[in-house]
């Protein structure tokens, strides 16, 4: 149980790519243990937002605070060590390595065996390896990945790879999990599975989840709060019910009445 999950505060974040404002003063709060979705039409800046949260992009201005820590300006590996784990849309897996090895990579920041102790086969290194292998097997089991543990990730189906990616993020024992379109390209059955998995994760591990997703049904049924972006700006923020009824949101997705083609 993670009892020390703090609030994630995104405050007036601006990201510029040359002349393009990918994010224009975005603000929202992720309460501890909640599932917070970020949605919006294509190009709204959702992936950019995740990149900022994980330290890959550095915003031009604004701040991102995880509890007391300011994340802006931190290197990605430092952000990771604060408990911010991300499951990537394009997958951050090592294709040639097995599922087990990839999950163990998720433990990298939590382990310390170095070159010398590992190369020499020091007992401390071996013991650490065994300890973390046990935990990784637990996580794999939680996501029904046990039969595939020793298969090279590159040989698995797309759906399985996505599961491995989420498992890998979980292996980091995160306090907040960033999910980037976890069900993209999946069929309805797989979507339902992942959906319930996310709910289970948030509930049983009590961690916060930031979900970037296109599938409205999933977003609305899972989320505690939803932030809607359009052209890099926040146009709505509230509970799923509030957001669904918000005219600005409807306008962004369908176009304003004067512009709609139907």
């Amino acid at each position: 149980m993670n009892i020390d999950v703090p609030v994630l505060e995104v405050d007036d974040v601006v990201v510029r790519f040359g002349a393009v404002k990918a994010l224009d003063g975005v603000t929202f709060r992720v309460e501890p243990g909640s599932i917070h979705s970020v949605i919006g039409p294509n190009g709204a800046g959702k992936s950019t937002m995740l990149n900022v949260l994980s330290g890959v992009y550095r915003p031009k201005s604004g701040s991102v605070r995880f509890g007391q820590q300011e994340l802006v300006g931190m290197r990605p590996d430092k952000v990771t060590r604060l408990g911010v784990a991300r499951a990537f849309q394009n997958l951050a897996l090592s294709g040639g390595q097995s599922v087990e090895e990839n999950l163990m990579l998720g433990r990298h920041a939590l382990t310390r065996s170095g070159f010398l102790s590992s190369g020499l086969g020091w007992p401390t290194a071996r013991a650490e390896e065994r300890r973390h292998l046990r935990r990784v097997h637990e996580i794999a089991d939680f996501l029904d990945l046990t039969p595939d543990l020793h298969s090279p990730v590159g040989e698995l189906s797309y759906g399985s790879q996505k599961r491995v990616e989420i498992a890998r993020a979980l292996a980091m024992e995160p306090r907040i999990l960033l999910l980037d379109e976890p069900v993209a390209g999946m069929n309805a059955g797989e979507k339902r599975y992942i959906s319930s998995l996310i709910a289970r994760i948030a509930k049983s591990l009590s961690i916060s989840v930031v979900l970037v997703e296109h599938d409205m049904e999933m977003v609305m049924s899972l989320s505690d709060r939803v932030t809607v972006l359009d052209f890099g700006r926040r146009i709505a923020d509230g509970t799923p019910v509030e957001v669904q009824a918000d005219p600005a949101v409807i306008g962004a997705y369908l176009g304003t009445p004067a512009e709609s083609t139907s």
Binding site: D77, T80, L91, A92, S94, E101, A109, E155
Partner: protein, 386 residues
């Protein structure tokens, strides 16, 4: 570069099952070990000489494989670090004497000290270069490392009091706890065979290669190994995973330079002398050929590749009578030429058709054997690869 994580030409490192095949592979390994231990008793000079030179080069190949095969950092610098190792050894362990190039300095220290000092100094050089190597993109490092080779050659050519200049200087024989690895009038006799330089070197080489092999294999099966492979796939993903990418690239470079330094000492012992042309760009390319032919990322593959490339010219030479188009004059194709054609073509062939190299071929054979001996009840439901 695409963001795909999928199929890289990496050998199928045994991620599947630590069951059946491992057991018989261990058996095979034991047999191989016994054979290797008995070689000096039954085989002659040619094999001992070839064997030790293979051990020397294999140690280097294992080191390069860690850097290039596993971590994806192209390096041509191996001959440079080997030169540092070799030069340091002959200066530390050799005697001050006269050569055709002039007087060369030697400190006359015990050869073991010389060897340790040599490895230490190559490590220091590797450490000095590692911040540069950490910051460079994979292929820019290839060029920068080539620079080191030329610098090394220049130093060997000009630092005559140390290196003996263009013609080099002889390597002092190795010595361990008072036992000289040299020919003597009253040699130690084991199992009816008088032990001289080549016999002792064989065992020394085996021990060093075994140590180098085990260290690398342990590394690849543990935390740093996984991180190295991820750095090769995606530096960004590695960074997100908490791997300090620049530091890792630097560390692996440092490690490979240590391997190369040791290989340099062994190489010097094997040839019997050091000269600048032994550590030229030619050797860089041979090393890369070794790890590609053996299968990039595989420690065993590196050794197999080393054996292949090293034995080629000698095997061709030995069988030259059977090869009609070989000739010894400069207009024709010599054994050396043919060896180059073969390993050059082998590199191309491996990359085109079997990127996992010799190691991959071995793994496939093991898989096929395993599947054939699987009983019907044990049919594996999940996907099998290759």
């Amino acid at each position: 570069m695409s963001n795909s994580t999928l199929v890289r030409p990496r050998p199928a490192t045994s991620t599947r099952g630590d069951r059946g095949p491992r057991l018989w592979q261990t058996g095979l390994l034991a047999v191989a070990a016994v054979v290797l231990l008995l070689v000096p008793i039954y085989l002659g000079t040619f094999w001992l000489q070839l064997g030790f030179s293979i051990f020397a080069v294999a140690v280097g190949a294992i080191g390069l494989n860690l850097l290039t095969g596993t971590t994806g950092q192209l390096s041509l610098a191996h001959p440079f670090f080997m030169a540092v190792g070799a030069l340091t050894y002959v200066v530390l362990a050799g005697e001050t004497s006269e050569t055709s190039g002039g007087t060369v300095i030697g400190l006359g220290l015990p050869p073991l000290v010389g060897m340790v000092g040599a490895v230490f100094l190559s490590g220091v050089c590797g450490l000095a270069f590692s911040p540069v190597s950490g910051r460079l993109r994979g292929i820019y490092l290839g060029m920068a490392s080539l620079a080191l080779v030329f610098i090394g050659q220049h130093v060997l050519n000009t630092a005559v009091p140390l290196s003996g200049g263009f013609n080099g200087r002889p390597t002092p024989p190795f010595e361990l706890f008072g036992l000289k690895f040299d020919y003597s009038d009253s040699p130690v006799v084991i199992l009816g065979v008088p032990f001289g330089r080549l016999e002792w070197l064989w065992y020394l080489g085996l021990v060093l290669l075994a140590a180098a092999f085990l260290f690398a294999r342990n590394l690849l099966r543990s935390r740093p190994g996984r991180a190295m492979k991820l750095v090769a796939d995606s530096e960004l993903a590695a960074s997100v995973m908490g791997v300090p990418v620049m530091a890792y690239k630097g560390k692996v470079f440092f490690l490979s330079s240590i391997y190369a330094g040791l290989a340099g000492v062994m190489y010097a012992l094997s040839i019997g002398s050091i000269a600048p042309q032994s550590f030229a760009m030619d050797l860089s390319m041979q090393f890369l050929a070794m790890i590609v032919i053996g299968g990039m990322g595989s420690v065993g593959g590196a050794v197999a590749g080393a054996a292949f490339v090293m034995s080629l010219p000698l095997v061709i030479q030995n069988f030259s009578a059977y090869i009609p188009f070989l000739s010894t004059d400069s207009g024709g194709i010599t054994a050396a030429h043919l060896a180059k054609y073969i390993y050059g073509a082998a590199v191309i062939a491996v990359l085109l058709f079997k990127p996992s190299g010799l190691s991959g071929i071995w793994q496939s054979a093991v898989e096929t054997y395993r599947r054939k001996t699987l009983s019907k009840q044990e049919l594996v439901p999940s996907k099998e690869g290759n």
